[in-house]
């Protein structure tokens, strides 16, 4: 009887109004902080929007960041479907970047149509392998995946630093970075494909298309294969998985390897698309943002794309805001991003129960008349 009271909200409230209210709250709180610093919050918000969508290159940057977040959002989401909290997107992305760089370095003389698939493979294999170790420890040894994936982020960062000050270091460079990748490996900017449709020049590149293909494959895999079915069963009800003969060990391994592969592909955008070299800290916390993206996107393919776009806009607009308003420091922008993550991810239910009450009251008289 008591279970009747949950989830009786219309879809548009669940997937439209609630995320909107969460977002609005985050911006109102941010606005108050900006106001308390003596700046005009409305101007700040319009600068943020202007910075994210106001001119061609801004749009391109927004898409560029969104590409990152689609990959890392998928990495969190796939694991979450199996009930696993993958905090290791950061480390998996780092290792994926290493895999991509090694692939294009080894295959430097190959033509693009071979080299780029090779790079995709390199990123996926390295990212997947990096996730496979915590997955194995969870499946066979019961080491908690949250702890191990966090630890593996640090290990990956150290490995990257070692490689970039050692074996992969660019000749004569002071800062830790690799040599430039071969031209054949560079991903074309999206303006080359869609320039005719008015797509602006900028950093957004064809890895966005690869990301969208991954989103489709994610949907297909989770909803249309028995592996995906098994992953969902393990995530929703591990006991039922035992009942159905679904091996949770297999599910943990498969879902984490795929998650790691998705995170690993983030390197395509950064290494092949924009930087054209491997630098330290190129993941810049995008792996963690993936957690918020997956949450806000409700682990739904379309939701992930939309949430990634939102975070892309906040990242790009936020940087622009810090740029335009001297008293809005980069730390304040991080705070705004944190508020969105907090309200959209962690506190997504704050408006749920009041809204349910409102809708219950709203529905009652209409039933009575009918």
């Amino acid at each position: 009887m008591s279970s009747v009271a949950t989830d009786n909200l219309p879809k548009w409230v669940n997937f439209g109004l609630i995320p909107f209210l969460n977002l609005a709250t985050a911006f109102i709180v941010s606005g108050l902080v900006i106001w308390s610093l003596g700046e005009d919050p409305f101007l700040a918000m319009s600068l943020l929007l202007e910075g994210a969508f106001g001119y061609g290159e801004a749009v391109s940057y927004t898409f560029y960041y969104a590409t990152h977040f689609i990959f890392t959002g998928l990495a969190v989401s796939i694991a979450f479907r199996a009930g696993l909290f993958n905090i290791g997107g950061e480390g998996q992305a780092i290792m994926g970047g290493v895999g991509i760089l090694l692939a294009v370095t080894i295959g430097a003389d190959l033509p693009s149509f071979v080299l780029i698939p090779l790079a995709i493979l390199g990123g996926a294999v390295f990212g997947g392998a990096w996730a496979a170790i915590p997955a194995y420890l969870q499946a066979k040894r019961g080491s908690h995946i949250v702890i191990t994936t966090i630890m593996f982020n640090f290990i990956a960062a150290s490995i990257l630093s070692y490689l970039l000050v050692g074996p992969l270091k660019r000749e004569g460079a002071q800062s830790p970075e690799s040599a430039d990748i071969p031209d054949a490996a560079k991903l074309d900017p999206l303006s080359d494909f869609f320039g005719g449709l008015g797509f602006p020049e900028g950093p957004a590149n064809s890895s966005l298309l690869i990301a969208l293909v991954c989103v489709f494959l994610y949907w297909l895999f989770i909803n249309r294969t028995h592996y995906g079915f098994g992953i969902r069963i393990v995530g929703l009800n591990p006991s039922a998985a035992r009942f159905a003969g679904i091996s949770s060990t297999k599910v943990i391994m498969i879902s984490m390897i795929l998650a790691g592969a998705m995170a690993g592909l983030m390197g395509l955008n950064e290494v092949l698309g924009v930087q054209h070299r491997l630098i330290t800290n190129f993941t810049a916390g995008f792996g963690f943002v993936g957690i918020a993206v997956a949450f806000m996107g409700r682990n739904h393919p379309v939701g992930i794309v939309l949430a990634a776009l939102l975070f892309g806009a906040i990242y790009q607009g936020g940087a622009e805001l810090a740029f335009e308003m001297p008293s809005v420091t980069r730390d304040l922008v991080i705070m705004i991003q944190g508020l969105v993550i907090l309200l959209a991810g962690a506190l997504e239910h704050i408006y749920r129960s009041p809204l349910e009450k409102i809708f219950e009251k709203f529905n009652k008289p209409s039933k009575g008349e009918g």
């Binding site: 290159e57 660019r170 002071q174 800062s175 830790p176 970075e177 190129f282 810049a284 940087a319």
Partner: protein, 323 residues
Amino acid sequence: MKRIIYVILALFLVASPQATMADEPKIALIYDLGGKFDKSFNEAAHNGGVAFESATGVSYHDFEPASEAQMEQAIKRFARRGYDLIIAIGISYATPLRKVAEDYPDMHFTVIDSHVDMPNVQSVSFKEHEGSYLVGMIAAMTSEKQKIGFIGGMDIPLIRKFASGYAQGARSINPDIEIIENMVGASPTAWNDPIRGGELARNQYARGADVIYSAAGPTGFGVIQAAKETDNYAIGVDSNQNHLAPGYVLTSMLKRVDRAVERAMLGAYNGNWHSGVEVLGLAEDGVDYALDEHNEHLITDDMRQRLAEARAKIISGEIVVNP
């Protein structure tokens, strides 16, 4: 080269607030990851900007990138808006600046501590080894146990210049002096890890060193803190850090990033900015040791005398300090 200083001084006098030119140059200053107020390298750049602003009344725009990935975006953003001069501070800017400079061949860039060989880029670096030579001498002349330490941020060529000059300076006083050398880490976090800096310093002091020179950005705060706690000496770096713990900071190796920044800005203001490579050493007043009210009692007249002699010999070429 002393002329430059005179020119600057002259400009200080000439430039007055109302003497705003018809078209003020648009100048941008982009810091390294340490951030504007790191009491060290970036803050020196900031001070240079402030000095320019107060001298000319022309304001400039600055930006602190949040990650390496944002560096290129930041330079581009200024370039796109048609800034007359974009100054980037730090070793990480070599590649991003080169890329943007290629895309915007008509714009002017100054990069500090990096080397970008482009017709529209001015690369400024310093002879850190020469300044380090002087503080190495001070360390050796002060150390009672004839055992001194060096803590570097990362094992990169830039930091090796500091270490090398320091060791040469110390050995010029006592060829048998013992030098303990440590690097903080292998990743850029090494520049921002005062905890680790403090640990390494305490360790070196425990091993008998009584003066430690740190060339590790804000990580050096930990070294200075450890000096104060263990009643030993530390040597600051980049900016004058003597005031951070008066009596415990023996001196600071000044790297005049502030002057380089100010000079580049004035160049844009006066229209005499030029591209090319500049390396600033003792002769150009690009490096020095710090002497102020916090440490004047620590540096004796005798020491000052010997330092002045060494400086003259380095400038004249009699002493060659290897990087």
